[in-house]
């Protein structure tokens, strides 16, 4: 047996096969292009719309509720075929997924972007391929706004302002006039929610002379990391912490765990040395904690995008125009009481007093 002949043969073989695959792909691709158009028409009668959904991951209850909502909304029964891709917390994977969707020739791409930047090139590819991209939840920051069709999501800054507004009103209402030491357990740095919520807190700290931001550190939206970070903060500052501003429920869960393990008490009574926890998302677990008073106020971040997205795609299918930016409605829950509404920039937002009945009504 000849050693190098064999190997060179196999190399040549592979190269030829790859080339063949490529060429035939070219030919087939053309072919397919034609036939798939036809096929599209056939399918049109069945009204099967293929949608690619690129989701960030499944790191929290909120995210999973959101995914489920979209998946349920675009069920095959309603004439949709949804390709779901979980990017496992990597923008890189999302870009890869979008490219795959383009290659697969989907009709729409729905994207929940991991971070705001870095989307120009892949979104222009989608645009070139004529596939509308609907961005939801987090935003994208692209030079050319026409790269995506529309955005739908939460107003994170508003959420943050509502939370801070609640705290401010609450302190006023209770007549607490001491220094308020706050720690901020941030979300994944660079995420829109983190940016908006942190900004609101920073604003509020500037606006209130008594409020002091002791530290901020990222807990990556996970309870384990949140607990770790909180442990660290407690070690550093101990009992002087009055308020923990946790940027989602999962982290709040970890935070509460850490505080209890360290022997401090959680509650709204700051004057008695209790630590007050603010949280966002209003997931089921978070709401339960809010019901127990462990979370003083939980500002909702509505994950149920499914129906809204269906609405948008139906409009697009019908050839109608859609708004470039839409906010999703959100609520604020608290079982602490005293405060019924929060005013942010002259608009009044209600605060729902949390009862077990309300819990039962919620879908997630």
């Amino acid at each position: 047996m000849i050693f190098d002949k064999k190997i060179s043969f196999s190399v040549v073989l592979v190269m030829t096969l790859l080339l063949l695959a490529g060429c035939s792909g070219f030919l087939l691709g053309q072919d397919q292009g034609g036939s798939s158009d036809k096929g599209q028409q056939d399918e049109k009668s069945n009204r099967s719309v293929t949608i690619g959904l690129s989701q960030i991951g499944s790191e929290s209850d909120w995210r999973m509720a959101s995914t489920r909502s979209v998946q349920e909304a675009f069920s095959p029964g309603r004439g949709y075929y949804l390709i779901f891709d979980d990017a496992q917390q990597k923008q890189e994977n999302q870009i890869k997924a979008i490219r795959e969707f383009i290659d697969q020739g989907v009709d729409y791409i729905i994207l929940d972007p991991m971070v705001e930047t870095g989307w120009d090139s892949v979104l222009s590819e989608a645009k070139e391929a004529g596939i509308p991209v609907i961005v939801y939840d987090r935003r994208v920051d692209v030079k050319d706004e026409s790269l995506y069709t529309c955005w739908i999501g939460s107003d994170f800054l508003l959420e943050g302002r509502r939370a801070c507004g609640w705290l401010s009103d609450y302190l006023k209402d209770r007549g607490i006039n001491q220094d308020i030491n706050i720690v901020n357990i941030q979300g994944t740095l660079g995420a829109s929610a983190q940016i908006g919520r942190s900004e609101a807190l920073d604003e509020a700290v500037l606006a209130h002379s008594k409020w002091k931001l002791l530290a901020k550190e990222s807990g990556d939206y996970t309870s384990a990391k949140g607990k770790e970070v909180m442990n660290d903060m407690l070690r550093r500052y101990g009992g002087i912490i009055n308020v923990v501003y946790a940027e989602n429920d999962n982290m709040a869960y970890g935070v509460i765990d850490a505080i209890e393990a360290a022997g401090y008490t959680i509650g709204a009574d700051i004057t008695k040395g209790e630590i007050l926890v603010l949280s966002f998302d209003a997931s089921k677990a978070g709401m339960e904690l809010a019901l127990d008073g462990m979370i003083a106020v939980d500002t909702e971040c509505n994950p149920l995008y499914g129906p809204k997205l269906v609405e948008i795609i139906e409009k697009l299918e019908a050839g109608e125009k859609v708004e470039k930016e839409t906010f999703i409605e959100e609520d604020q829950f608290s079982a602490v009481g005293y405060i019924n509404s929060v005013k942010v920039e002259d608009t009044s937002y209600p605060v729902t007093y949390l009862t077990p009945e309300i819990m039962k009504e919620r879908e997630y």
Partner: protein, 362 residues
């Protein structure tokens, strides 16, 4: 050189050459470091937790508490390393699976059961999770022993699939158990100020010691790890023994999973016990055991595990951010292995012998 001095240095040499010397020395150096720079490190206080039960707290308690899982895993990993000459890199993923099973069995379909809504007792759930973890260990074992795939490669399969399987077990949900009793395994049993994981770890060590004393597991795994052919011709069944070590590791994984899950009363399958396999392997290596299998010293591995935890706790104390921690850990690990490397030791010995040689080659 006088004879007396000679025998003394011989004795010293003997101690130094002992395998267990390395991890113990590392442990002492770390403790000494803390003693010099902050004796407060050793303070242990008796406080009360939120439920009003007495708890001990302090850095040393943290070390023996948080090091429990690693110590337990180090036991299993040592056996696997000894018999198969390779390492199982899937233990983190397997913990995710075992933990998920535990919660799934306890919770059923309800991901947020209240205190009284648990489906079964903890014991049943734990046994089920043990069986599952051992089954996955057995799967690894089959690949390694029957198909003769190198352990690291074989366990790469479960490493890749494990967390996905864990997600699938709980339908991608993250169940939370609010029953405070469930937290006992990873926290404190009311009235006992010492964290429960410490007891679990000690129990595991006692079991391991008894197994080593009253069975031939030690001899068999070493024999198989050193020379499979000879072992077979001496009537051993190397395939079975290798397989067995993986099953044992599976059991260790289930116990570690119980502690891990109980600590949080919840599970996040994508991050739970992340990179713990690397730490477990490191523990075995720090214990001076050859990663290529054969002779082992279980206690050295266990001490190795606590060295790693002590290092982590020390670094935390000096406010090293948790993400940057690995960098410091790496430096210490490299220093440790460099100084325990036979070639380096030989060279150092040479330096000591020749008086002309300069001292202090750090």
């Amino acid at each position: 050189m006088s004879a007396k001095k000679n025998s003394l240095s011989d004795l010293f040499g003997k101690i130094v050459r002992q395998q267990i010397f390395i991890p113990i020395a590392a442990l002492f150096i770390l403790l000494l470091f803390n003693l010099i720079f902050d004796p407060g490190f050793f303070v242990i206080t008796l406080g009360e937790n939120s439920a009003g039960d007495p708890v001990l707290s302090g850095n040393l308690i943290t070390v023996i508490n948080m090091g429990s899982e690693l110590a337990i895993l180090a036991i299993g990993m040592t056996f696997v390393t000894a018999a198969s000459g390779g390492q199982d890199i899937s233990v983190g993923a397997a913990i995710a699976i075992a933990g998920s099973v535990l919660l799934r069995v306890l919770c059923g379909d309800n991901t947020r059961p209240a205190a009284g809504e648990l489906q079964t007792s903890f014991l049943v759930a734990f046994i089920v999770s043990c069986i599952v973890a051992m089954a996955f260990g057995a799967f690894n074992g089959v690949l390694v022993s029957i198909f003769k795939i190198q352990p690291m490669v074989a366990t790469l399969i479960l490493y890749t699939a494990g967390r996905s399987i864990a997600a699938w077990i709980n339908n991608n949900e993250l169940p939370i158990i609010s029953d405070p009793e469930f937290g006992y395994f990873g926290g404190f049993i009311p009235g006992i100020p010492v964290p429960t994981p410490v007891f679990i770890a000690i129990a595991c060590m006692i079991v391991a010691a008894l197994v080593l004393k009253f069975t031939n597991l030690g001899l068999y795994t070493q024999a198989v790890g050193i020379n499979e052919n000879s072992s077979r011709l001496n009537g051993l069944n190397p395939v079975f023994i290798k397989w067995l070590t993986f099953v044992i590791l599976g059991l260790c994984v289930a116990v570690a999973a119980l502690i891990k899950v109980s600590r949080l009363s919840s599970i996040n399958y994508s991050v739970i016990a992340k990179d713990i396999e690397m730490d477990a392997i490191l523990a075995v290596a720090l214990g001076g055991n050859a990663l290529s299998g054969g002779k082992f010293n279980l206690w050295a591995s266990i001490i190795g595990a606590y060295v790693i935890q002590l290092l982590t706790t020390t670094l935390f104390k000096y406010e090293v951010p948790s993400d940057a921690l690995p960098a410091y850990k790496a430096v210490v690990v490299i220093l440790l292995v460099v100084f325990s490397a036979p070639t380096v030791r030989e060279k150092l010995a040479h330096l000591k012998k020749s008086p002309a040689a300069k001292k202090g080659v750090a």
